[in-house]
Amino acid sequence: MLRLAWRNVWRNRRRSLINVAAMGFGLAAIMFGQSLLISLQGQLIEKATGSITGHVRVQRSDVDESKFPDKFMADPEPAGRLLDQDPRIAVWGRRIHLTGLVSSPNASLGALICAVEPHKEKRLTDMSTYIKEGTYLDPNGKGIVMGRKIAGRLDVRLGEKVVIMAQAADGSMGAEAFRVVGIHQTGSESFDGQIVWLPLKAMQEMLGRPGQANQLAARVKDIDLAEAVALDIDQRLPPGNIRAISWKKIDREIIGIQAFQNGILTVVLVIVFMIVALGILNTQLMSLFERVREFGVLMAIGARPRWIVRLILAESLVLGSVGALLGLVVGAVLIGHFGRHGLHLPVGEAFSYFLPFPSVIYMIPAWRMHAFACVSVFVITLLASLPPALRAGRLKPAEALRHV
């Protein structure tokens, strides 16, 4: 049957090729879209968690905004021990993130002050890799790292001093001079123009909060485990107003963007599948009308009606297989090419206002999604050919043989 189906498909070579091309390029387009989306989302998550958020955070549960936990944990050490004991965690560090004032002899600016444990932060985030001048922070020093834009606005250069002011534990304004030891350039307006980085120890001293932090940020070995790790840690935290949450509860806008993008992809997917389905339906209907007499002959020589149905479905399967194969090859080549050479996307520039986001996306395959698309093409192909197949199966041999 497959031999006959194969030959029947190529009986009208041009029509079949158009159909196969429509299916193939449709599938390739879907694969490309899936890969682009996965790459983009992966990059977005990696940059958001890898630049500032971390995968799991322990912080006060009564903060107004999870992204900026400005309330201090009086004793973060029990939570720290839990993070230490969890083998799924690659690294964790104490942090103080606060809004404050950065002043130079020439200007004063409001900024997000991020005090970190430098040796841990180097593994927790990739900010140290963006240093363009000077060095990263010394844990015991009084250096400050800032973006090129904020340095420009403050009119300070490497080696010059700035004063940091923020509210201390007793309610007074804590102030301390820090020397600029590093200038970074991430390409992000927020990071380069609104954030400064200090050693945690110096910040604790300045605020009169020795040993305190307002967040513990952790990087897990597998980001897919972040949610489970956060849940486990949260359940084991001592009673009080501290909780552990994953990046998904902190960077909620990314989840929103993901949902939006997935929604658009689904709509595109449905449209492409409908085009494929209509193409198959059209081909098989035309093929049916052209071959009514032939089906009559097959029935006359003893083919059962369901055999005719199966023959038409087999022809669709052949079309679907060739189309899917073409789609897989074209899609894989496209993804492979842009995986190696990258794809320049203006969307990178849009994201880079908020994050150090590259404008070149290196595409990665999303095999599970591609497999789903492939299977869908098969299913759609079979479903679309079912009406003509059933119609052919209902033909009466004598009438079919009279068909001109």
Partner: protein, 229 residues
């Protein structure tokens, strides 16, 4: 002993506005080994009767039996199986499957029977040998003449060793010489292999070759002539 085919009180009325009565109470018996023809002008009901005997259509009234068993009331699947094992068809327009070679066309009923691939290929070659087309086995129909295509159709009809081969105007699309050759072939198969043939024609020269001619007119059986040869 029952006849190979028994048509009893068969009527065929085609539905529609005018409700054309193509057959009106036809009774007919076909015995094993016959080489018979249905004769009559266009519209006399030859093809309709052939279709009913071939179980390609169902009578409005009456029955068609093979070996004493009524087949005209069988469901679609058993009817297909019956045709597959017991009947062979030769059509006026050859009706070979254009994408298959001659031997594949001949082999196809055996494919439907799920016969062993080697065995069915051997039987197909044998059938092609019987019709004198061994050297054309691998050609597709479009590379065969009309006469050759009709010989392939005959080979396809006999490959399953059916009880009866039905041929609807088998020579109508052939020139007289090729038509005569085809009749020679069918006659030889009937004589040498005992295959029963029932064919329709309105061509006097063709009817001359039949040993029995059943004449139809306006859907009724008008004459049943048996000739000694």
């Amino acid at each position: 002993m029952s006849s190979l085919v028994e048509v009893k009180g068969v009527h065929k009325i085609y539905p529609g506005g005018s409700k054309v009565a193509a057959l009106r109470g036809v009774d007919l018996k076909i015995e094993r080994g016959e080489f018979s023809a249905l004769a009559g002008p266009s519209g006399s009901g030859k093809s309709t009767l052939l279709n009913l005997i071939g179980t390609l259509d169902r009578p409005t009234k009456g029955t068609v039996s093979y070996d004493g068993h009524v087949v005209s009331t069988l469901d679609a699947d058993p009817l297909s199986d019956f045709r597959l094992r017991s009947l062979g068809f030769v059509f006026q327009a050859y009706n070979l499957i254009p994408v298959l070679t001659a031997v594949e066309n001949v082999e196809y009923p055996l494919v439907l029977q799920n016969a062993d691939p080697k065995e069915r290929r051997a039987l197909a070659h044998e059938a092609l040998k019987w019709v004198g087309l061994t050297e054309y086995a691998e050609r597709r129909p479009d590379l065969l003449s009309g006469g050759q295509q009709q010989r392939v159709a005959v080979a396809r009809a006999i490959v399953t060793r059916p009880s009866l081969v039905l041929a609807d105007e088998p020579t109508a699309n052939l020139d007289s010489k090729t038509g005569a050759q085809l009749l020679d072939l069918m006659e030889g198969l009937n004589r040498d292999h005992g295959i029963t043939f029932l064919f329709s024609s309105h061509d006097g020269a063709v009817l001359e070759r039949a040993r029995r001619v059943v004449r139809l007119q306006d859907g009724e059986l008008k004459a049943d002539e048996v000739r000694a040869r």
